[in-house]
């Protein structure tokens, strides 16, 4: 097993002196004495100092001697039966955002939703969540939400608005449109049908900002089914993805991640690992997880599909633009022939998807990994319908337009022109929950509830239902879209009653209804039925169309979705998501132009200086058809050299919210206008762009080299072959490192069983390896060995299952009241995430296809021999008898010694009062984008079981101690021992791939104990084990199903000089 050279960024790889200086300073900036320079320059600073001292002492005395405030304890007027103050209630519900689906459980405390968990009863998402699902609870308390309906920009009553809209609709003689995103709700579809029956000239158009209509059309042609299949990644042995980021943003990532991870969970006893090929233009998390990855321009993706089809059917040698592409296509075709293959493509081109369908058909995927019996409803939008609607608007043929769930002025390629035309339509209604770009141009804004305030349902797959129930009564004077439609259609019933009636009837009786509401899901019993479909598509025609495509410009633009930001929408105003580092670029708060190192250098970015070490990035201008945006360069190893990639969801209007607001100095740019139409559908790339240097600089807050290990090895990775040959390979390597410490150091050198490293002739025998952990713990130190009497908590993180999606980061943020610090403070490395995901590259930066990526979630390791504990002068951090590294905030005096001494760099200091700064006037620190959090409304999201930390104290992961205490208390109250799995950390619960296992190591029956000692012993390792910190978090080494792990030889030491 070769020790790879891993690097977080080019600056680390190159290790310039400027970078060294940055990482050497634990805290980036000098202490903030800048404010008092006047004082220091004053003629009598000493006297002033004494004056200030005297004044502040006096002031403190006066303040302290004030009387205690009188606090009130106000019970309910009439206590609801099922609420006990202080005890959380859980409601099964559904997250649905334009077809993105997740079955959830809402945790409410004293009537407020504060956390969202996955619903484990769902056979679609299996309890997994995503970063956006986790963060969605913050959107409920968004300050920018409308608090009442608007007519012509003025607050109005529902009665007045209803009357005017009804009159408008009745008077309308032209076609009217109801424009929505994908609607998963069957009852809502019924209501829309009722509405269109009442107003027959209303047409319902479904449109998805990030479109999948190419796929739907191809499926219609290939199988006669205008829908999407269900993909069974768990059954796939060979996975080939052509530009589909199925683990990050494509279609239903939670579902796919769950399935995908099942094929990745290799152990010494079960040597089975799926093989994942990824072809892509930019660097996605699916590509980062792939075993084999090759890049191509987006316009070449069709050719790759054709080559793969030919290689699979005729065995024709591919002739693509790079040898690596050819190699991968050949290998992938060979592997697909072995069966259990699955090919997916992110293309929105009908011809490309037809070829993909043909490949899946030939590979025997239909009915196996591609399920056509139970299909998926996730996306239903049709680009051509939207294009027709826009044409009708332009032609002045639209009498009324009602828009729900989508924001075409922002998200449509020609949104600006569309927005200008809206004024000509007599009746325009938006159901948006805020004054977004489209709502601003509409006559009426009838705000819809947040999904946490709504009744509703979803049907992600035909026959698989999921109910939505509110966790709180509507906060504002909003009204469900369904209620509005029903009112306008003349119904007197409320949607809530209609919905209840609908489901009681459908499920047959109150009892079934109650059960369904409690479970949250209604699904057919047993395993999901699987079936194929006969392929009837015209491959030859599709291949011909693909080959006729014109080659694009030298550089091509990829418009992609970030894991955190998605298509934009309300996510653009979610500060948690803005501050979540992007899995690949580790950038926060802005969008930017992703470029490969070579191309970036060409466009003026110094890879060893300015652009990589300093936060100020060079700005480039991207032009196409009269649209221009200027964006800073972020160098992303693994990008195709001829591709520039920019994320959507940025460049929003100020009225979308404080965090979303953008101008030249903040908030990024909108790149939806760069989407191009191929006549039938919209492509998420643009082949006709020009890119120019500018002399501007723009700061991007990137966290990739914050918390640096300065090159110390923290990862273990091996190939499938290495691991299968010798499953003890990692154990032996660990023995090499720590074996010599497993005996008392004062034993004579020549003692017979004195354990030496393997290199010195020490024997890594089975017995030695088995007792290694124990002996190292006891003998590697002079301190006595403490044995936890009751519980000892431990966590294991599987680097093979972790896909880097960031759901855990957001789960932790919601659970533990983690503060958002804003861009200016992220620039100073002040971010507070207790759990971060470190992303390491290896390979040659100038060869995008050589890049391999590893994710490593990093949190407090709860060392039993913790370096931080020894240096705290006030013992604010110390060890519990359960193995927790405790942090007592009220004891901390903020010396930050612990953070200096932590080898894992997981401690975070509160430089400011992030949550209560508004208690004084004019006391907000930021550029304004994070300040929405200092508000009584937003603070309702805080978890009352976790202290809100104030300025001047250190904080770090607590292993969700509030949950551990709660689990123990529950067991104590029931008078029985705690069961394994009762105590779960937020990160563990949010993980869609079950990469995190947590429990009581003292319990020999627990999953964590079995995993460490039996199931995954061969892959278990501890980070920086040799320094004898004795972490309570272990990792499972990554096994890549590939021939070579790139990097790590001497030739690469001068990599930068050689290659760039």
């Amino acid at each position: 097993m070769s020790q790879k050279q891993y690097w977080k960024g080019l600056e680390e790889l190159n290790n310039t002196s400027a970078h060294q200086q940055v990482v050497e300073n634990e805290f980036k900036e000098d202490l903030p004495f800048g404010l008092s320079t006047d004082l220091m320059d004053a003629t009598t600073p000493r006297r002033d100092f004494l004056k200030f001292l005297g004044f502040s002492t006096l002031a403190a005395t006066l303040v302290a001697s004030c009387e205690m405030p009188v606090r009130k304890a106000i019970p309910y007027a009439i206590k609801p039966e099922d609420i006990t103050p202080g005890v959380p209630n859980y409601y099964a519900s559904t997250f649905a955002d334009n077809g993105d689906y997740c079955a959830i459980v809402i945790k409410t405390r004293d009537g407020r939703p504060i956390k969202i968990e996955g619903n484990e009863l769902s056979s679609v998402t299996h309890g997994g969540t995503s970063a956006r699902v986790q963060a969605s609870v913050l959107n409920l308390y968004d300050k920018a939400r409308l608090r009442a309906p608007l007519a012509d920009g003025q607050e109005a009553t529902y009665e007045a608005i209803d009357r005017r809209i009804k009159e408008g609709l009745e008077a309308n003689k032209q076609t009217a449109y109801l424009l929505t995103g994908t609607i998963l709700s069957p009852s809502t579809r019924d209501i829309i049908t009722q509405f269109t029956t009442k107003y027959p000239n209303v047409k319902h158009v479904v449109y998805d900002p990030v479109s999948y209509s190419g796929m739907i059309l191809a499926n219609q042609a290939s199988y006669g089914k205008a829908t999407l299949p269900t993909y069974h990644f768990e059954k796939a042995q060979t996975i080939v993805s052509l530009g589909a980021d199925f683990l990050g943003t494509w279609l239903s990532p939670i579902e796919f991640a769950k399935g995908y991870s099942k094929g990745r969970r290799i152990s010494a006893k079960n040597l089975k690992l799926s093989k994942h090929y990824q072809f892509e233009a930019n660097h996605t998390i699916s590509g980062a997880n792939a075993d084999h990855r090759a890049t191509c321009k987006p316009s070449e993706m069709g050719a790759v599909a054709v080559a793969l089809y030919n290689a699979l059917t005729t065995g024709a040698k591919p002739n693509l633009s790079s040898p690596k592409l050819n190699e991968l296509v050949e290998n992938a075709a060979a592997d697909l022939k072995k069966g259990n293959g699955l090919v997916v493509s992110g293309s929105n081109n009908v011809s490309v998807q037809t070829v993909i369908n043909a490949i899946n058909d030939k590979a025997g995927a239909n009915g196996n990994t591609v399920n056509w019996t139970v299909t998926s409803n996730y996306k239903q939008g049709m680009d051509s319908d939207m294009m027709a609607l826009v044409a009708a608007v332009k032609a002045g043929q639209v009498g009324a337009l009602m828009i729900h769930g989508v924001n075409p002025v922002y998200e449509y390629a020609d949104g600006k022109a569309f927005g200008d035309m809206l004024a000509k339509i007599p009746v325009t209604v938006s159901f948006a929950d805020r004054l977004d770009e489209t709502a601003q141009k509409c006559k009426y804004v009838v705000p819809d509830h947040n999904f946490l305030e709504s009744w509703g349902d979803a049907e992600p797959k035909p026959g698989y239902f999921s109910l939505m129930q509110p966790g709180i009564a509507p906060l504002f004077k909003t009204r469900a879209m369904q209620d509005s439609l029903m009112t306008w259609a003349g119904s007197t019933q409320t949607y809530g009653d209609y919905w209840k009636n609908y489901w009681s009837t459908k499920l047959g009786g109150q009892e079934n209804f109650d059960k369904a509401l409690q479970d949250g899901v209604v699904e057919p019993a047993g395993e999901m039925v699987n079936g194929g479909a006969a392929f009837t598509g015209n491959v030859a025609d599709a291949i011909g169309k693909i080959q006729a495509m014109k080659p694009g410009s030298a550089l091509e633009l990829v418009v992609y979705q970030k894991v955190s930001m998605g298509h934009g929408g309300v996510w653009s105003n979610n500060p948690w998501l803005h501050e979540m580092p992007d899995p690949i670029t580790k950038a926060t708060w802005d969008n930017y132009a992703c470029l490969s190192p070579l191309r970036a250098k060409e466009l003026g970015a110094e890879l060893t200086g300015q652009n990589e070490v300093d936060a100020k990035k060079h700005v480039i201008s991207i032009k196409s058809n009269g649209v221009e945006v200027q964006l800073p360069i972020v160098v992303v190893p693994g990008m195709h050299n001829d591709v520039v990639a920019v994320a959507v969801g940025y460049g929003r209007d100020a009225k979308v919210g404080m965090a979303a607001a953008s101008d030249d100095t903040k908030g990024g740019k909108n790149v939806y206008p760069f989407l191009t139409s191929n006549g039938v559908t919209f492509d998420a790339y643009n082949t006709n762009i020009t890119v120019d240097k500018t002399d501007k600089l723009y700061e991007i807050a990137i966290t990739q080299t914050h918390h640096s290990y300065e090159g110390r090895p923290v990862l273990h990775e091996m190939t499938f072959e290495e691991f299968s040959k010798d499953t003890n390979i990692l154990l032996k390597e660990r023995f090499e490192e720590v074996g010599k410490f497993t005996e008392m150091p004062w034993q004579p050198e020549n003692a017979e069983d004195k354990r030496k490293p393997v290199s010195e002739g020490g024997e890594p025998t089975e017995e030695n390896l088995l007792t290694m952990d124990e002996k190292f713990r006891e003998n590697g130190t002079l301190y006595p060995n403490y044995v936890a009497p009751g519980i000892k908590w431990g966590m294991s993180i599987d680097l093979n299952s972790c896909i880097g999606c960031g759901a855990c980061v957001m789960g932790c943020q919601a659970e533990n009241n983690i503060s958002v610090v804003g861009k200016t403070h992220v620039l100073l490395a002040h971010e507070m995430h207790w759990l971060r995901i470190d992303r390491y590259f290896s390979g040659k930066p100038d060869q995008p296809d050589s890049i391999q990526t590893v994710f490593q979630p990093m949190l407090c390791q709860h060392c039993d021999n913790a370096p931080c504990e020894n240096v705290c002068p006030v013992s604010a951090t110390n060890h519990s008898s359960e193995g927790l590294n405790q942090m007592a905030y009220n004891r901390c005096i903020g010396t930050k010694y612990c953070a200096n001494n932590c080898p894992y760099k997981v401690r975070h200091f509160n430089w400011m009062d992030w949550n209560g700064a508004d208690c004084f006037d004019d006391n907000i620190y930021e550029d304004g984008r994070r300040d929405g959090l200092n508000d009584d409304l937003t603070r309702m999201v805080l978890n009352p079981d976790v202290t809100v930390r104030s300025r001047g104290v250190m904080e770090k992961c607590s292993f969700c101690v509030q949950r551990l205490q709660d689990a123990k208390l529950t067991a104590k109250k029931l008078g029985r021992p705690m069961k394994d799995g009762e105590a779960r950390t937020a990160c563990q619960q949010s993980c869609p791939t079950d990469a995190i296992v947590f429990g009581n190591v003292n319990d020999k029956e627990s999953a964590i104990y079995k995993l460490r000692t039996q199931q995954q012993r061969e892959r278990t390792f501890y980070v920086l084990e040799q320094i004898h910190t004795l972490p309570n978090v272990n990792y499972l080494a990554k096994v890549r199903n590939t021939e070579v792990i790139v990097g790590g030889d001497e030739k690469l030491d001068d990599m930068m000089n050689l290659h760039i």
């Binding site: 302290a64 009188v70 304890a73 106000i74 019970p75 079981d945 104590k972």
Partner: protein
Amino acid sequence: MPESLKPLFRRLAHSAIIFVIALFACNFSAFAAPDGKALFQSNCASCHNPLKDATGPALQNVDKSFPSHDWVYGWVHNSSAVIASGDKFANDLYNKFGKTQMTAFPALSKEEIDAILKYVDDYKAPVTATAPEGSSNPNAGAAQDSSYNWVYVMVTIALLTLAIILWRANVSLKRTSNTIEGVPNEKEIPFMRNKLVIAIVAILVFVFAGYWMVNGAIGLGRQQNYQPLQPIFYSHKVHAGINQINCLYCHAGAEKSRQAMIPSPNICMNCHKQINSYTGEADHPLVTAEGKHIDGTAQIQELYKYAGWNPETKQYNRDAKGNIKATPIQWVKIHNLPDHVYFNHSQHVKVGQVQCQRCHGPIQEMDEVYQFAPLSMGWCINCHRQTQVQFANNDYYSIFEKYHQELKTGKRTGVTVEDIGGTECQKCHY
């Protein structure tokens, strides 16, 4: 002064100083002896009254009834063990008081127990002409002690004065003798300018002011004996004391939640739909701490206003949708913990089987509730160190195999909260 007199004076001065120091020492050792009153109030008062039966028996002269003098030590240290041993006296006592087990106090020494017994035997009912029993002056019992102290202080001052006079006389005599013998006298520095005096005074001021300030600072935010006026004069004595209503009837959260829960008016109305006047006026007139007389019936009427109850029609007032028009009562919060403290009632009441009175004091005696305990961290920690967990009774603790082993072999007599990590930071701060 003749030379021969000098040693005499010196000896006299020395012995005076030694005497004074000895006197101080006596005084200090008097302070160091166990303070029965303080011990009683912090450990026993929540369940015992010296003069009458409460949760436990009246303690005055109770020691005369014990089977033996040593019996009480075992009983206080671990009453359940004594009961389990089949001791007849212990079992009778246990049964007499409704099988309520006395909390074990393994940390109390024999001297301390003796001191408590002495205190309760000497205890005299406070003489209060007007104030009702609940608000009796807690300092009444200390009168005798302080008279002793007064004598000590007077003697000390007198002796100090004597020492100073003797010292001054010594100095004057010495100066006189110097003048007579022609030896030059050192110029005498006035008392106030004496550097030694200034230093001593400065140090004393620093020490005492520091002590006072630190104590004051520690006391900031603590509200022991806080007894605010409440929107309704609700008497715990009438409800929990006289009428024997179980605490958990109203404070249902105490066994389920971190909050004990103040009942909402509709809980009150479960009884007060029927009970619309206060009939206990003769036996127990309601009087505030200030001595103002309270009309109990009027207070019930006050409750009706909050609950939205119309006592004439015996119906709730309802709005158009049929919802009861109730308003929440804004009670003044008495027990305030800082935000960084996590306290869970169910952990203590349900799991720990701790009596409410342990922290809330003789709540069944209070007309107006006051904060009985200091609610300081030291107070919490102290209890966690002394209190034994329900180790044998709760199967949760079966995972602590080592302790069970030690209990079996007799190496350990009990498991306190501290032993299972109950004094660690993150048990209460997270």
